[in-house]
Assembly symmetry: D2
Homo-oligomer: 389 residues x 4
């Protein structure tokens, strides 16, 4: 029997909200049934409302990596020079697809504990006016850092290029939306801050992106990777290109309802407060955050450096075995150097962040470090109080 | 609120078995958690047992079309002449991918109410000894017909070519397994006869197919379409190439447990009896089956011709609105000409087939036809009794 | 693992509606939490609306027998002569409690395949003007017969006596409500036609009944059997007398929502059509209904006589083992003589009744009888068609 | 929509374990179906195993108060002098039923923050050798105190009297079992430490108790309050006296499975560690525990005094609104004077206790008190560490 740890604070998948979990047991209705088609059309509109789109979003039937690959395959043409903004493992990793589908891949890299400076982007675009597509990861989860996507989007749009934004682990947990950041393709997930299970990608596609995709002869068609196949999937008179993942669709619907019932602003505030408590608490434990500045630390995951002399997996296991708290390891450049606490969906609860601080502090002590756990908790509380006043 | 019709007898998705539906509400455990990795390794073995494989199966994180496309993309190399066996809409449709990935596509076509005759295949292979890949659909659902895949497999293997078998809507509901039919890639679904929701493809890949795929430079790698990425996904020491669709994974596990608890042979007998009742009943109503001979009619779906002068959608709506029975329409060449009753998973119940016969008969009568519904029911019962004795 | 038969057509418990089943997995919220108290107050109002009450209903935390016993214990005082109307096993059985709590128990009995004639009641009340409480079972499930409760209620009210109505297996499936039948205590169940699981009794109590109960020194107080304890349980400022059965409460809420969404009249029509089909079908099989006249046959269960020479349990097992249909046996006076098909909640589907007729006919034949199953199905269809025109 | 607070640490009902919640959506199988009867017989044996009984336990179809009332009504005869041991609100409250069913009720009272001293009991029994029934509450939840039931049981048995033990909020969370404490009726709950929803009472009844009950003319028979009706309810050849509450039965089965899978000793250790952390943490916050000595503090709930000058409901609301932690208020003699943190079932997690300490400390501070929250957390951690070494 599969049992989840009591406190699963991983950067995704995250535990489902209770109402989402209930929705997973809902009816699996034949996708050719008009009842389902009407439901799906309504779901697309509901999602469009949550994404604050003026056109229809696309739901792809696979977890976020499908959407990211589909975005690259669809938007990037064989003649396109692509600029990959790389402030972290995920942002840089997108280059794999850029290389596969584009003509040439340029990379603007900053250290993985920093964010892309907009002026660097402007300079690079000026130097290479032929750049047609820019890609950026909003919240680079292995680093826990945010890029200034709205500024980036404004620059790219002014340049006349197209922008792909990976907002997988930020959307839903903070104030970021496709059109507000001038994204041409904006890739979000059902399985992070919305609190649904992994299995669906949520995409916003601008009208100019649709036009470019349609003109792109290599854009996937009749393929699981296709965006085009799904452009009008909401139309009740059309068969679905692929049988939708019905249980996941039911879950997404419930997740959106829940999000709207709590209110986006309240959800964001809850995520932000949780992260603030985590950062303050960890620092008071004497731990260093991975992001160079708190100004770029994400509200949806807190990444801290594992102290010298301690092995990341040892600390993680100690926290798990002693307190039932499961953390995420680093990845790529941050592997072995950090641990990560997610604040996404149901785990975005300030008291859970404080509990994580408590558990991490106690585990460090049991590994031989001198740590003032009480100070960590007090600092986290102070950070919360500060927010409320 | 989404509500399923009382009797959803569609060719897929099908209603989940009760224990599967319960499993959907199970814990979503982080895929990097050793607990989950051990669970997944066990699941792969359980699936291998159900598929009667001597090596490990692959689970792809998308509904069956993903697996079919991935099979073509992986196995078919740019120099490969491919022979598509086309006895129906799905078998023929596979050619889209063969064309995309292969050097040349040949098609062996028979009328869509017939099956591929093995001797035709032999002749074609003799004529074109360079054919390297053959593709076949076992149960071509739009026609409700079966191809003799074991004989086909033997011929292809003897020829030295590779065989891709689409067993999406037959596997689990009848005695068909990858190695028994000499399949190199065998594509099955969680969402048909196993009674889980759509969202996962289940694949058997022969060792010689793995060798060919590895040698194929165009086989997808680092892609949602990749088989290679997943070859060793069961290894607890490796991260998953893509976050698994956890709710669907939980459901698959429960579906396999249920299948094993009832016993494969009992499950197959239940499907076969249901189809036999449906065929006998429909014929006694004066309806013609679509398959030219009952010997090639599938045990997992019964396809019948809509009588002259009646519109398929009108009959389907009448059956739905009067009795709550939802049937599938035809597709492609059979669109407008047939209706289809699925017998898959929880709907493979002889009494449900008789209820469908009753509803179809009564609906035809209400549309002005002279129909002996009682005779239909009696014939269905006789067919069942015949099987038991 | 507990598995339900495919077609569970028993007179209760009945399979839960899908949305009810989902609600069972809902949050168990502390009953002292204002959030729960507000929810409960809303639930009581919703139930009052469904019961068409002008005052608040009572929900007791146990299946219907609790409510029936509580009604007797509360309303019947030690000086009260009680008249038990006995047209069946359940109506007569109520006398056990009348005897326990009242001064004297009179019984008005009719054969158990008939209904109480109002004029008999009038005569009896005239003969014994001191009768203070009358008890009646609306749908005496072991017989499948209805009593004319509205007329009975009018007579009892005119007489100045109090009436207890057992509407456990009729309420929700037909047009019967406490105030419309002049009931002083009206006992209904969550677990029959509303389609929730067993565990709660739903009671309507008239204001005059409350007055009598309060004046009754032997009415249970501080007891699981108490109605008085629950009179104001909906008040958010009061603790619950007993911790509510939270999962069952969640289910009831969903069951009421579902009932209201379909619409009471539509629900009743569905039940009535199902029963009409069952009756016509069984008769055409050559079976005799237990109720002397169809005018008194309940829309929520069809009871038929097992033919001479056939053992009830043998027929029931044959139907179950061959077709997966589970029927109820008789009870008390009808035990061994009848079988019963329920039409309650999710099982109130005309096609299910026809399927039951089919299965029963085929089973009789396999037990050696000459039965025209086709005629049974045709007659059931004719009955349905007749209703629609 | 009903939503539970994020951290529901109330003394019951408690949140269901995940597998229990899933089981609630399981099949509702007709109680007259042999499949269900066999399942029920197995459930009774499983429960007997968990209760470490040498005879069969009884499951009553209502929450714990039903079982307590039924125990009194069944075991206490009209000639029996009854001794009520009253060390708390619940123990004393049992006297209501003793008075109702017995000849005379004696009370042995100690202050409600103390436990019954065995020597006091011995003295009382010596003074009144005619005492036939003694009642005791093991964990008097409003006080959070334990009585020494094993010693009490030995004395009562030696005296020749009968003992009723209310173990509702201790059984499952610590090492207490009917036969080990010489209980004649031992009343436990599905809804506390086992982590199932409220709706069932679990009773152990000694053979000598059964004999006394059978000899008691006033013991309920044919009643919802009857134990006798249920003595042999596990026998597959008998109809159930009352339709079982099927969803709750499914949940209980899953709760017992879970309990056995974790192992009783591990479950108890988890509860004990959680309580130890809570006690240490609260004391370090400067709060006083309600129990006079920690030796009698229960491992399943920690009760602390609300400081002078603070209103209990104000503190509770602050904790709830700021941190999402729901605590229980006091009851009866402790109402207004204490707050209570439950450690039962899924909430018996040491880190949850520390989180509660954190939240309570921070709330007190926000209400104007000088509190060292860090010290509270450190003390709780120290208590945990101490247990592990």
């Amino acid at each position: 029997m599969l049992i989840a740890p009591p406190f699963m604070l991983t950067t995704g998948p995250v535990p489902a909200y209770p109402s989402v979990r209930q929705a997973l047991g809902g009816p699996l209705v034949y996708d050719g049934n008009p009842v389902f088609q009407a439901f799906y059309a309504g779901l697309v509109d509901k999602l469009g409302h949550v994404m604050r789109l003026t056109n229809k979003p696309v739901i792809l039937q696979g977890d976020a990596l499908l959407g990211l690959e589909a975005a690259a395959a669809s938007l990037i043409g064989p003649d396109d020079p692509v600029l990959t903004l790389a402030s972290g493992v995920y942002g840089q990793g997108f280059g794999v697809w850029s290389k596969r589908y584009g003509a040439e891949v340029l990379e603007l890299t900053v250290p993985f504990d920093e964010a892309i400076a907009p002026e660097l982007l402007s300079a690079r675009l000026q130097a290479r006016p032929d750049i047609r597509v820019v890609t950026v990861c909003h919240h680079d989860t292995p680093s826990g850092t945010l890029n200034p996507v709205a500024e980036i989007g404004r620059i790219v749009r002014a340049h006349g290029a197209y922008l792909i934004v990976d907002a997988v682990s930020s959307f839903g947990g903070m104030d970021v939306h496709p059109e507000a950041v001038f994204a041409d393709i904006f890739v979000a997930s059902a399985a992070k801050c919305l609190g649904a299970p992994p299995g669906l990608t949520l995409l916003g596609v601008s009208e100019r992106a649709w036009a470019k995709i349609k003109a792109n002869p290599t854009a996937p068609r009749q393929s699981f990777l296709s965006l085009l196949d799904w452009e009008q999937a909401w139309r009740p008179d059309r068969p679905f290109p692929v049988t939708p993942s019905l249980a996941d669709i039911n879950a997404l619907d419930a997740a959106l309802d829940r999000h709207l019932a709590e209110g986006a602003e309240a959800v964001w505030a809850r995520h932000a407060a949780t992260a603030a408590a985590a950062r303050a608490g960890l620092k008071a434990l004497g731990l260093a955050l991975w992001p160079k500045s708190e100004a770029i630390a994400a509200p949806t995951a807190t990444v801290f450096r594992v102290p010298e002399g301690i092995v990341d997996t040892a600390l993680r296991e100690r926290v798990l075995n002693t307190f039932g708290v499961l953390l995420s390891l680093g990845r790529g450049a941050t592997a072995g150097r950090v641990l990560r606490i997610a604040h996404m969906g149901v785990t975005a609860q300030p008291l859970l962040a404080i509990a994580a601080v408590t558990a991490i502090g106690a585990a460090l002590r049991s590994l031989g470090r001198v740590v003032d756990v009480g100070a960590g908790v007090e600092a986290a509380l102070a950070a919360l109080e500060h927010r409320q006043t």
